[in-house]
Symmetry: C2
Subunit: 459 residues, 2 copies
C-alpha cells in the first residue's frame, strides 16, 4: 500500500488497527476453501463510521475492499483475490440488545454465533440456523453467506431470521434496512438483498435478528439401508408422513467406511444411513413424530433401526454424523467440501450420480448431508500436491454441478458461490438473471471495489 | 387507447382478452382501498409470452402497465393511477405441479389462495400465510404484496415460502429466479426482491412455493382484561414463556363494543381481549402450550379466562375475532383498515396511542390485530361524504404512522405501501435507503411503465 493511503487508513482506524505485516497478510490470504491470495493490508474497524471512511477512501482510490468475519467460508468469498484492503470486522463484536419480549437480538457483525447462543440459552431461546462452524463463524459472515445448518429442513436459514440491517454502501453512505417489527412490507426488501450477497454490495455493521424459543424435547432414530433406492424412498415417504423432522441427515457408504476406519463406532457398512431428530415441547409430541419416521423406515427394507431411549443414546447416534467432516478431512492432504442441493425426491439420484462421478474420475468422494432439505455435502478427498489429481477434482466438480442442475437443483445450498463456483453461475442462472444481478452490482458499486472477482458479477 | 395500440394489444392477446368497455374500466378503477382511477384498457394474458409482448409494446410506447390479481389489496397498489393498461392475471390460474415429496407447489399467479388450499388439504399439507382475503385473493397478489395473516407469529409471511419465480421484466425479457431446492445461496436473492415489490419491478408469471404439513391438533383459549396494561404484560410474558402460539390475537374495547352491538355474542365490555391458539401434532403438545398461556393470563388480572374444550367451542371463540372486520365495515359509509406493526412489547402502547388519536380527531377507531407479531389493524370508520371527516381521517392516519415509527415499528406489516402510504415512506426509511430503492427501480424499469405512482419510487 502506498504511504499516502497507508497513512490515511491509519488516520481513520488508528495505528493499532492497521497491519501490513507479512505474517498477517499470509493469514488473510486463506479462508476455509482451497483458494489463497494475499491482501495489501488489513484494518480492524471499531465503528460504522470507521467502515464508512475506509470505503470512501477506497472508492476514491479504487482499491478493492474485502469484508471478513472469521474466514470459515468454504467457497473463497473472503479471499482478497484482487489484493487491496481486508476489512476484518471481528472487533465489532458487541451484542447490543436482547429483547425476549420482542423476540429479537441486535448484534454487531463480529459476534461469534456460539457467543450469541450462550447469551440466549438462559432465556430458553436460540438462533436456529445452527451452522456447523458456529463455534467460530461470525454472525456477519452468517448474514453475508446466508448460512444454514443441520436444522434447515424445519427452521430455514439465516435469511429467515434477519429483520433488519445497518449497511455501509461502497460510497460510504450508511443506511438502515428492515425493521425491529417481526414483519414489514414497507418498500423493497433490501434486507434480504444483502443477505447472501457475499460482501459485494455493502458492509453490514449491525444486524437485527429474530430469535426462537428453544424446543424442550427431542426424539432421535437411525436406520441403515443396504441400497440407496430404499433410503431415497424413505426420505420421500417421511415428507408424505405429515411431519417435518428438525434434522434428517444422510450418510453415504464411503462416509460410513471412513468413519469405521478412523473411529470405534463400528457402523454397519451399508449404502446409506439416515439419522432423524424430531423436536417439540413434550415427549409425546416428539415420540409421535419419531414413530411416523420409524414406520417409514420399517417399510423400506432397513438393515437396522435404532431409536435412542435416552439423551446419551441420542448423542451417540449423532457422533457418527458429526465426526464425518473431521474424519474425512484427515484422510488425504486436501479436500473440497461441496454442497449441491436438489429437490428432496432427487437426493438418492444425486448420491448415485456422485458415486458415478467418483468412479469416472478415479477419486475418493464421501457424501453426507441434510436430506431433509435436499442438501448433500460430497467431500472430495485428494492429494493437492499431485497436479493430475487436482485437475481431476476440478473436472469432477464441474460434473457435480451439472448433475445438480440436471436434477433441478442448485450449485450451493449453504456455502455460497464465492470464487469456487463463480464460473458455474451461468449453468444455473439464465442470461437475463445474470444481467439483472450485474445491473444491481453496478448500481450499488460502480467502481467494483467491494469483494471483486466473486459471484461472476463482472462477466 | 389509440387505435394502433389497441390493435397491437388485440394482436397479442386476442380480441376476447382485450377490453376498454366503460363498465370494465370502472371495475378496474377500484381495489380494496378507498382510492380509484380508471385505466384506458385491460388485457387478460394467457401466457408469459403474452405478458412479455404486452410489456415490450408498453415499454416502447411508454404506457403505464398495472398488474392485477383479485384486487383485494388494501393500500391501492392495483389502482391504475396514471391510466394505461391493466394486466389482469386472473386467467393464468393453473396449478402446474404439486410435489409433496419435494414439499413444493408450482402455480400460475392467478390461482386463488383457497383453491391451492383445497388441492393441498387431501395430502395433509397447507400454504401457511393464510391471508384473511384468502378465499378471493390470488397467489400472484400474495407474492406482489408479501401477504400475511393470522398465523404470522409462528409461520411468517408469503416471503418465507417463495422458492422461485418466473418474472417478465419491463422490457419483456423473461427470467427465472430461485430454485426448486428448499434452499439456495446461489447469487443475489432476486426472488425476495420481487416479493412485496407491488408490481413495480416485473410481472410474476409462475411461482414455486414451499408448502408445510398441516398440524393435526390445536388448543384455543381466550382472556379478557379490564385494562390495556394487563393485556400488554400478558403478551410480553407469553413471549417469555418459551412457546410461539400459532395465533395470538388482540381485540380492543371499541371492536368489542361494535361486535356486541351487531351480534348476539355478548362479549364482556372490557379494554382488551386476547385470543390464543397453539398447534402441533398431539393434544398433549397443544395443551402443554395453552396451559403456559393460561398461567400467564391468570397472573395479569384477567376479568375472565375461557378454554375451548371442543373444536366447536374453539370455533365459537374465533367468531368474535373473525366477525370484527365485517361488523365494523357496516357501521359507517366508509372505513380505512390500517396495519401498523411494532415490536411486540409496544403493542399496548400502540393501542393506547390509537385511542388518543381517535379522541384528538373525534373519530371512531376500532382496533384488533395480530399481537403475536405486533401487527395492529386500527379500522377507522367515517362518513366519506363529509369532507371535514375525510380530512380528519387523513390527519389521523398521519398521526398513526408517526406513532408506529416512534414505537420502533413499520408503516405496514402486511397490507403494503401502494398509494395509501407512499407519501409516508420517508418517515420510515432514511434518505439513503430511499435512494437505493429508487436506483433499483430505475435499473429495472427505466421508463417507469410498471405500476407508476406507487411506493414513492419517483420522488
Amino acid at each position: 500500500m502506498n504511504e499516502k493511503i497507508k497513512q490515511a487508513l491509519i488516520d481513520i482506524v488508528g495505528a493499532k488497527n492497521y497491519t501490513d505485516d507479512l505474517i498477517d497478510m499470509v493469514s488473510y490470504s486463506y479462508d476455509g476453501s482451497q483458494h489463497k491470495h494475499r491482501p495489501t493490508c488489513a484494518v480492524w474497524p471499531e465503528t460504522s463510521q470507521h467502515v464508512s471512511e475506509v470505503l470512501v477512501l477506497a472508492n476514491v482510490e479504487k482499491i478493492p475492499v474485502v469484508p471478513r468475519g472469521a474466514g470459515t467460508g468454504l467457497s473463497g468469498m473472503a479471499i482478497p483475490v484482487k489484493g487491496g484492503i481486508v476489512l476484518d470486522l471481528s472487533h465489532m463484536n458487541a451484542i447490543l440488545k436482547i429483547s425476549i419480549e420482542d423476540r429479537l437480538a441486535v448484534v454487531q457483525p463480529g459476534v461469534v454465533y456460539a457467543d450469541l447462543e450462550k447469551v440466549l440459552l438462559p432465556h430458553g431461546f436460540f438462533f436456529p440456523p445452527d451452522p456447523a462452524s458456529g463455534t467460530v463463524a461470525t454472525l456477519g459472515g452468517n448474514v453475508a453467506t446466508n448460512a444454514g445448518g443441520l436444522k434447515g429442513a424445519k427452521y430455514g436459514t439465516t435469511r429467515d431470521y434477519v429483520l433488519g440491517l445497518q449497511v455501509v454502501l461502497p460510497d460510504g453512505r450508511i443506511m438502515r434496512t428492515g425493521s425491529k417489527a417481526m414483519k414489514s412490507v414497507s418498500g423493497y426488501d433490501l434486507t434480504r438483498l444483502f443477505v447472501g450477497s457475499e460482501g459485494t454490495l455493502g458492509v453490514v455493521t449491525e444486524i437485527t435478528l429474530k430469535i426462537n424459543p428453544k424446543p424442550t424435547a427431542t426424539s432421535t432414530a437411525l436406520a441403515t439401508f443396504n441400497n440407496l433406492d430404499d433410503a431415497g424412498q424413505a426420505i420421500s415417504q417421511i415428507m408424505y408422513s405429515g411431519i417435518i423432522p428438525s434434522a434428517l441427515e444422510i450418510l453415504g457408504r464411503h462416509t460410513i467406511l471412513a468413519i469405521n476406519q478412523n473411529t470405534d463406532l463400528n457402523l454397519p457398512e451399508v449404502d446409506a444411513m439416515l439419522l432423524v431428530e424430531t423436536d417439540g415441547y413434550t415427549q409425546q409430541e416428539t415420540d409421535y413424530q419419531i414413530q411416523k419416521v420409524i414406520e417409514v423406515f420399517a417399510k423400506n427394507n432397513p438393515r437396522e433401526i435404532k431409536q435412542a431411549q435416552t439423551e446419551e443414546e441420542a448423542q451417540e447416534l449423532w457422533i457418527a454424523r458429526k465426526s464425518a467432516y473431521g474424519v474425512l478431512a484427515r484422510i488425504k492432504t486436501h479436500f473440497v467440501l461441496e454442497d449441491v442441493t436438489v429437490p428432496m425426491a432427487n437426493i438418492s439420484n444425486l448420491l448415485k450420480g456422485v458415486e458415478a462421478i467418483a468412479e469416472k474420475h478415479n477419486l475418493q468422494i464421501a457424501s453426507y448431508g441434510h436430506a431433509g432439505d435436499g442438501n448433500l455435502h460430497p467431500q472430495i478427498l485428494y492429494d493437492g500436491y499431485d497436479p493430475d489429481e487436482v485437475q481431476r477434482v476440478e473436472t469432477a466438480c464441474a460434473d457435480l454441478f451439472q448433475l445438480a442442475i440436471d436434477l433441478e437443483g442448485t450449485l450451493t445450498g449453504e456455502h455460497g458461490i464465492g470464487l469456487s463456483k463463480a464460473s458455474y453461475m451461468t449453468l444455473e442462472h439464465d442470461p437475463v438473471a445474470m444481467d439483472v444481478m450485474r445491473t444491481i452490482k453496478k448500481g450499488f458499486d460502480p467502481n467494483n471495489i467491494l469483494n471483486p472477482g466473486k459471484m461472476a458479477l463482472e462477466g
